[in-house]
């Protein structure tokens, strides 16, 4: 029942996401599709880690699936993080730059 309540809460969250303005069935079903799509696609993408280590892929996939499902709804959080705020855009740009440089400079030759 807890998971059912959680899924039902998702719809309520979506109503907040689309406010102000009317919320149509198409919008909510689109957001639910996005929610399921996001979880499934990230889990499938994590399976690619099997090329590094099968055990690692299994563990990451399992943990990711549990974390994602227990944190639904994800889309409102994703949407808030990816709005048109310059601060957020700059934050993510600098963070990605830092990660790429660190990853390449110190770890590039191990791939």
């Amino acid at each position: 029942m807890r998971l059912y309540d959680q899924i039902f809460d998702v719809v309520k969250k979506f109503k907040e996401l689309f406010s102000p303005g009317p919320v149509t069935n198409a919008d909510v079903s689109g957001s639910l599709t996005a929610e399921i799509f996001l979880i499934v696609s990230l889990v499938i993408a994590s399976l690619l880690l099997r090329h590094v280590s099968v055990l690692l892929a299994g563990l990451v996939t399992l943990i990711l699936a549990i974390v994602l499902i227990s944190n639904i709804p994800l889309i409102p959080k994703f949407k808030i993080e990816q709005d048109d705020s310059l601060n957020k855009m700059l934050f993510y740009a600098i963070m990605v730059l830092g990660l790429i440089v660190i990853f390449m400079y110190w770890g590039g030759r191990f791939v």
């Binding site: 149509t24 740009a93 790429i100 440089v101």
Partner: protein
């Protein structure tokens, strides 16, 4: 006629300068812009394949290392360049045609930006010089900012400014990467750099070489609008005039493939390069489509879908085989056409209703059946429904990822296509099929004929490429084969 190769850049650039200088003479620049725009797709069709050395400085042989050096800025023109420059030429013509027929008094600076953007993107795909690539990458970024700022849509200035600020991070970082590469190899000619790397003159395991890849790669993410720049890229599409957005997305796609091909030639010796490309492409596909599903502004929705589609192109390049890269480049060509059709078609709806919120629209099939049907076909093409062009390239990508041993990527590709289909079904239903809301005050203007004409031309290309993909894929495959060996 190899003399035509530099003219592909010089003609739009000179036209831009002349139009800007003589913008007071309204009728004259209208005719001039139309004629130049008409010439743009014709020049690449008439030109022979080959190379052009600026200043006539032919390559010289280094007697010690036996490497052939290229002292001149070199333009290389082959089948993919021909097809992409031709397609941008067609799009520029259609966009200029729509613009000229829409306004009685045209803006010289706006036409300047359109032509300058076309010149920059043409130079990007032709050049064999990494610094030359950067210069035109910068010009293109500024032209894009200008096209967005010049539109009459609310908050367009703000979005353009944000894009410029983010560019002020992306561009210098890329330049720094090019600087590291120049410091190591002593040349900016890409063919020379590749020869130096292949001959083992520099160490490819040097951290400096990795760092140059990281920095250029980050600049490429900015140029392509892949994460973390997907939000701003979709934002600028939604704040540009619809015909401007159609051209902007083609600029993005071409700059993406131009830079990634250059990076591929230089860095494909590093396995991490392909891992990075695939990683960011998968992220773009997932984020682009999931955010498109939640949009209520249909211009923003197309913007996010366009970003998601870029992931397919990156996926093809990242897989790195001849078949996969061919599929990626074919997908790039299809995306240019399909997304342009969608931007122009949805722009026609904005023109007719003055509304962009799908929640407030409805019943438009009755008043705009032609636009509705063409948009539906365009949407189906983007989702990869046979026998349209998007189906052919996506099928190739699925086959390529399967043959490379990555069934997960094939599943993801199919899932993203299905989600794209859902986005279109939802939007098409909301805008065209469901009953018209009572409070919808449709301005009820006719859709401009120039827009219908542009949509028909693009639709013909989509159907033709869907039925006869070999016309394009054979030539691209031969080019890619040459690049890989």
């Amino acid at each position: 006629m190899n003399e035509l190769i530099p003219l592909m850049v010089i003609v739009p650039m000179m036209a831009a300068l002349l139009i800007s200088a003589f913008s007071k003479f309204d009728k004259v620049i209208k005719v001039f812009a139309f004629v130049v725009a008409l010439c743009l797709p014709i020049i690449p069709l008439l030109s022979n394949y080959g190379v052009h050395y600026f200043g006539g400085y032919a390559p010289i042989v280094d007697n010690i290392t036996n490497i052939l050096y290229h002292p001149a800025i070199t333009y290389s023109f082959n089948f993919p360049q021909q097809i992409f420059i031709g397609m941008v030429g067609i799009l520029t013509f259609l966009v200029v045609f729509i613009y000229l027929t829409k306004y009685t008094k045209v803006s010289g600076p706006y036409l300047f930006l359109l032509f300058m953007g076309t010149a920059a993107v043409t130079a990007l795909i032709l050049t064999d010089d990494i610094f030359h690539m950067f210069v035109f990458f910068e010009i293109l970024a500024l032209a894009q900012v200008g096209i967005v700022a010049a539109s009459s849509i609310d908050y367009s200035y703000e979005m353009a400014l944000k894009y410029m600020i983010l560019g002020s991070i992306g561009s210098p970082i890329m330049l720094l990467g090019i600087g590291f590469l120049l410091a190591m190899t002593g040349t900016v000619n890409i063919t020379d750099i590749v020869a130096i790397i292949r001959d083992g003159i520099i160490s490819t395991s040097s951290p400096m070489f990795f760092l140059s890849l990281a920095l250029i790669f980050f600049g490429w993410l900015y140029a392509s609008g892949l994460p973390p720049f997907h939000t701003i890229k979709s934002g600028i599409y939604s704040k540009a005039e619809p015909h401007g957005a159609a051209l902007l997305q083609s600029f993005t796609v071409i700059s993406m493939i131009s830079i990634v091909i250059i990076m591929f030639r230089i860095y494909s010796v590093l396995p991490i390069f392909e891992v990075l490309i695939v990683l960011f492409s998968v992220l773009a596909m997932i984020l682009g489509v999931s955010l498109a599903l939640t949009q209520t502004d249909f211009r923003r929705m197309i913007g996010f879908l366009a970003v998601g589609e870029l992931g397919f192109i990156g996926l093809g390049i990242g897989l790195g085989t001849q078949y996969a890269i061919t599929a990626g480049l074919f997908q790039a060509l299809n995306e240019i056409v399909i997304t342009a059709l969608l931007f122009i078609g949805f722009g026609a709806i904005v023109n007719a209703t003055n509304e962009v919120d799908t929640r407030k629209l409805g019943g438009l099939l009755a008043s705009h059946p032609k636009v509705g049907i063409m948009l539906l076909i365009g949407g189906l093409a983007m989702a990869g429904v046979p026998p349209l062009s998007g189906f052919q390239s996506k099928l190739m990508l699925v086959q390529a990822s399967l043959s490379c041993g990555y069934p997960e990527l094939s599943i993801l590709t199919i899932m993203v296509s299905i989600a794209t289909f859902v986005v279109f079904v939802k939007t098409f239903y909301s805008m065209f099929l469901r009953p018209k809301p009572h409070d919808l005050e449709v301005v009820d203007k006719d859709v401009p004929r120039a827009m219908i004409f542009a949509m028909v031309v693009l639709l013909i290309i989509i159907v033709a490429l869907g039925i006869f993909p070999d016309v394009v894929t054979n030539g691209i495959s031969n080019f890619v084969g040459g690049m890989l060996h």
